[in-house]
């Protein structure tokens, strides 16, 4: 197997970016989702509307933010709204087409844990918590999940359900009345999982070039099903890679810049 000319993070980012149609309204999380959305905006989807939970709507950052509320977002936004409104007027009102989520744990129905490992009252690991995720998972028309695959993170049973995927599957989510359709895809460092239409159990739907289904199975804490038609996902195109690397180089330079405060 030849060494691919891209990193796992890069193909995850490009694969996520490809899921985004031009003009879609995205509620963007920090890290890979932010890189993927901005890559899409700088390539095939120039009219993507990016919303960050800091209340910045329609941002067009030149460098990636480290936090959800860097000044770059405020400076390039169409408008800035108070935080209560970004949740009420945009997410809860059903204005968001695509929400991005990651987590410490995912189960086979795309439910997510970002709260604790272990018991809530006496946790082995206290994670950051829900933040915007429970509402993004509920209200975005569809959700894209980006997570590295391992038996510790792809678990048979969550320690805590922070955000809903398909709950117990087989239509349970829709029956609960949740307005959004749920996770459309889980993008990992092996490939992509998608919900089986009837059971809504996540199954392996695509693999990156050179990755085997067996490797993906071994990185999953439950017996991972494989879709009838297992796709080979395309590698990043040179232009995508170049754009992403330039974006990240600009970002590194900007974030390394020392701060000077005149007193």
């Amino acid at each position: 197997m030849s060494v691919p000319a891209y990193t796992p993070d890069e193909i995850m980012t490009v694969t996520a970016a490809r899921q985004l149609k031009d003009g879609a309204v995205c509620f963007v999380g920090i890290g890979l989702p932010s890189a993927a959305c901005n890559l899409a905006r700088l390539t095939h989807a120039p009219n993507l509307v990016l919303i960050y939970e800091s209340g910045t709507v329609g941002v067009r950052p030149n460098v990636l933010p480290l936090s959800i509320g860097d000044g770059e977002l405020a400076e390039t936004a169409t408008c800035i709204v108070p935080l209560p409104e970004i949740f009420a007027h945009y997410l809860q009102r059903g204005r968001v087409d695509v929400g991005f989520l990651g987590a410490a744990q995912i189960d086979r129905y795309g439910n997510l844990n970002s709260t604790v490992v272990g018991d809530y009252a006496h946790p082995a690991v206290r994670l950051p918590g829900g933040g915007g995720a429970p509402e993004i998972a509920t209200y975005a028309r569809e959700v894209l999940i980006i997570m590295k695959q391992s038996p510790r993170s792809f678990v048979p049973r969550l320690d805590f359900r922070t955000s809903c995927g398909y709950l117990g599957g087989s239509g349970e989510r829709a029956a609960s009345g949740a307005p959004g359709a749920g996770p459309r895809a889980v993008i990992t460092d092996f490939g992509m999982l998608r919900p089986q239409p009837d059971s809504e159990e996540l199954e392996l739907a695509g693999l990156y070039p050179g990755i085997t289904a067996d490797a993906a199975r071994q990185a999953t804490g439950w017996p991972l099903k494989v879709a009838a038609r297992l796709e080979t996902l395309p590698p990043p195109e040179p232009q995508q890679l170049a754009t992403l690397r330039e974006l990240e180089a600009r970002t590194r330079t900007a974030h390394a810049r020392p701060i000077h405060i005149p007193l």
């Binding site: 959800i68 000044g71 809530y120 946790p123 009345g177």
Partner: protein, 284 residues
């Protein structure tokens, strides 16, 4: 007749008491670090800290033993990872136990909004989304919508004893301008019993557009001039977020001794925020 600008140490000593519920707000932007450090220096104890995103400032206050309770919705180092002091307080009760009241962002924003509106609670739609609801917490309750019968989530109002904000400008009349990302800062202030502000600069007239975010002077109990008071967070138009510091904090806070030494040198061992900024090489 606006209150005159007072030294931050006087503002904290007068308005922040042991056992108070205190919200230092500002979403990523305009986090009142200088005020938090002054609270640490004055060794306040038993505080109920409230903040959507505890960020480094509450990591520091918790690690220094100021707080026995935390109300929050996301407790990480944004874009970096864990808040190690917060984690150690929850996982190992060091330096003391920390009781948590946990919300989602939307819920906590609504709780501030209810508090700012003189309400006992506010409502949002309910969906079976999260185990948070099953926790034995005094936070949310369900009730049916009287029009549709669909379930609603009621979130109780939050009215902090003290809300502290950092802002860019104060004018001669004492009105305060916030420019850029506001988060739930305004709601937290309007909900509070007392509002303290620190500001970057005093001006004759605010550089504010007609629909700018301005807090009228008469809502503010005390204002202090603290240039750089949001560092390592930022003040739009004044200085940028020090993303290098946020990354570096991960190492500092991971270890009890490294943390304590850093706090000793940069907070306890200095008289004020300006001295800290000089030691850090951020201000000349």
């Amino acid at each position: 007749m606006p209150a005159p600008l007072v030294p931050l140490s006087d503002a904290i000593s007068r308005h922040v008491h042991d056992g108070d519920s205190v919200a230092l707000e500002g979403f990523t932007h305009l986090i009142p670090f200088a005020a938090g450090h002054e609270i640490i220096r004055q060794r306040r104890r038993g505080l109920h800290l409230i903040r959507m995103t505890p960020d480094l400032i509450y990591d520091q206050m918790i690690g220094m033993g100021c707080a026995t309770r935390l109300t929050f919705s996301w407790g990480g180092n944004p874009g970096v990872g864990s808040l190690h002091r917060l984690r150690e307080a929850v996982e190992r009760q060091w330096p003391q136990p920390l009781a948590l009241t946990e919300f989602t962002h939307a819920e906590l924003a609504l709780a501030y909004q209810a508090g700012a509106s003189g309400m006992s609670c506010a409502v949002m739609p309910h969906y079976a989304a999260t185990d948070l609801e099953a926790l034995p917490r005094p936070s949310v309750r369900r009730l049916p919508c009287p029009f549709t019968g669909r379930e609603l989530t009621a979130v109780p109002a939050i009215n902090p004893d003290v809300t502290i904000l950092h802002a860019q400008q104060i004018d001669a009349a004492g009105n305060v301008l916030i420019r850029g990302i506001v988060g739930a800062a305004r709601e937290a202030a309007l909900a509070a019993r007392r509002v303290l502000v620190t500001v970057e600069e005093r001006v004759e007239t605010l550089a504010a557009g007609m629909n700018a975010v301005v807090l009228p002077a008469w809502l503010i109990a005390s204002a202090s001039l603290v240039p750089g008071g949001a560092y390592p967070s930022y003040a739009q138009g004044c200085y940028a977020r020090d993303n290098r510091f946020y990354r570096a904090w991960d190492e500092i806070a991971r270890d009890r001794e490294a943390f304590s030494a850093w706090m000793e040198r940069h907070v306890l061992g200095v008289p004020d925020h300006a001295a800290q900024l000089r030691i850090l090489g951020v201000a000349a």
